[in-house]
Symmetry: C2
Subunit: 365 residues, 2 copies
């Protein structure tokens, strides 16, 4: 039984669970977004739309990217999708065909591997370690590239480690990718939770790229399911065709809400600052647990500690932590071969994070 | 350029288009649905949910199907999806693997063929004709089944013909399907617009089936993107995995709205009666055009007339009708090999339908 299934079961039984497993922030969405959705609903914006997204949202996204990243996209390079997850799936489906392969840097969000395998590709993983500060080695990446490798998925700030690679390392990786004609799929969904300079694929350096992102984290809109992709026109056209084939469009009134999100700078800043504070608090609590080592996150909304004890098994630990202490974390096996690690999400309020990590400390003295 | 692209272009240029092409009704969604979505939005129902759908919606859907079709589904047999389109895609992906084939009855909604081909299957089409009242022959279906044929897609009431097959013919088709171990994918998205007894796969008779449907037509909720599948537990599990892989869940607050839709009987009835009236009106207008023959729809929201003139080319006609007369229809080639047919949608108000068909009559005397 997965952690999530078990958690839901326990909660249905009325048990309290200290949730450090969820991959979403508990912040509310911007009031202006809720209001805009409601207005659009009342105004019967309840019809099919262009699969790429309504022109008003595409234009707002173009302007947003230009002001944020100085990237001057053409509307034909943008696609609004049902969540960042679909953007990643469509990016992978666009870049990788059956029998080809794509690289992922582990530990990694499990969807990358699942989606690569779903399109009939092989996921080649490059391992990183806490010892190396979760930084991938361009040499190791180059060594593992095969003749059928078509793409590499990057994700900075990283889920689950919180790592942001230095811009110079990012560029080195892009050079390797260019050398081998790989499409760089850069999942920048956590970019607004960055507390160190975070390189973006939109700054240039990749010959071929697909950026995937979402409204979920920046504006706490997970349950709206709106994401997007930025790429060359041809790839964008393929992503539009996938969206059209599978679901037609994002709900029309939600697209009107999404326009307002792009203007909600205040909420984005507030969410970022809250996450910064949570990372600091989690650090303070983890520092008191001698049995754990961890990399202090540069960004994102997770910490991925590793037990010093060589024989530690995070899967057994997570199960026992949930059953005996009512604290849910995701064992490292979910993100690659990391049996001594587990992921703590900072999506819950500070006091919940503190309570949860203290219970972890009681179990790992 | 597709009809839709051309229409959008003309409308952007400020030209008026009499839209008889759109596959969605212009009715408003139930007020209770809008209200429930808004309440849920305000109540921060803005998070990820179970990929199958929130338990409250799954339960409401179970009760709805039981009261409507006397089909007593287990919750494990139900999956809420982002629109009926995704339900159909997931049903096809579940029933048909690469190198296998599935049957479609033409004229048919183009998505069936596209989705079968997308999963690497081959679409085997069985032709029906206006002469035969668009009724498929079980013998012809049986003849065309191959050893690798795994499924047959049925769609009654039919898009584009409005045909509803007699329950006895439906049963005969199911018997052929059972004989050859085919999964019956029954797309019943137009079932609330039925003006003749409409057989449902839920009434029994198929050894293996996946019903797909949606909230889009019954409650005029196209732009909410909520659909569902009803099937055996194993297929449902596969569909849940696809949803989980591609988009996580339907937006949470929309799911609360969907619960209210299932209770909105009055609006469903009103929409049905309006569509019945539009079909009658379209019939009266078409009866005045000697150059056209048509089957008077038993259901759905379309008429699919055929020109008597042997050399008639509906694609050229549709283009000229749009450019010269500002009326948009979809040529028959979009639904199979029907060069003399075109689809008239009844999604627009009565007066628009009348105006559009009169303009067609001026062109086809």
């Amino acid at each position: 039984m997965s952690v999530l299934t078990k958690v839901v079961k326990l909660q249905r039984e009325g048990k309290r669970v200290i949730r450090l497993d969820v991959g979403e922030p508990d912040f509310p969405p911007p009031a202006a977004v809720v209001e805009a959705c409601h207005e659009a609903l009342k105004g019967e914006k309840t019809h099919y739309t262009e699969s790429r997204g309504i022109p008003e949202l595409v234009e707002a996204l173009r302007a947003y990217l230009k002001s944020k990243s100085h990237f001057d996209a053409k509307p034909e390079q943008l696609v609004v999708t049902v969540g960042g997850r679909f953007a990643v799936y469509a990016a992978i489906a666009t870049a990788v065909k059956e029998g080809e392969s794509a690289m992922i840097v582990e530990p990694a969000w499990p969807a990358y591997k699942e989606q690569i395998e779903f399109v009939g590709g092989k996921a080649i993983s490059v391992q990183t370690s806490l010892e190396d500060g979760w930084g991938p080695s361009p040499e190791k990446i180059e060594e593992r590239i095969r003749s059928n490798t078509k793409a590499i998925v990057l994700n900075y700030p990283s889920n689950p480690t919180g790592k942001i690679v230095k811009p110079s390392l990012f560029r080195e990786i892009l050079e390797v990718a260019n050398e081998h004609n790989l499409t760089v799929i850069s999942d920048e969904v956590y970019d607004s939770y960055s507390f160190a300079p975070c390189p973006s694929i939109l700054e240039g350096g990749a010959d071929s790229f697909i950026l995937t992102s979402s409204f979920s984290k920046t504006w706490a809109m997970t349950g709206f399911r709106v994401g997007y992709a930025v790429c060359d026109r041809e790839s964008a056209e393929k992503i539009v065709r996938l969206a059209s084939l599978m679901y037609t469009s994002v709900p029309e009134f939600i697209q009107y809400g999404a326009i307002k999100a792009l203007e909600s700078e205040e909420e984005a800043t507030r969410n970022r600052e809250q996450m910064r504070e949570r990372i600091a608090i989690a650090g303070r609590e983890l520092d008191r647990i001698p049995g754990l080592e961890y990399y202090r996150p540069d960004g994102a909304m997770y910490v991925f500690p590793e037990a010093r004890e060589e024989s530690f098994d995070a899967s057994t630990f997570a199960e026992s932590l949930l059953n005996e202490d009512g604290v849910s974390v995701i064992p490292g096996a979910g993100f690659g071969r990391y049996p001594r690690c587990f992921r703590i999400s900072l999506g819950s309020p500070k006091e919940v994070i503190v309570e949860g990590i203290r219970k972890i400390g009681e179990k790992i003295p």
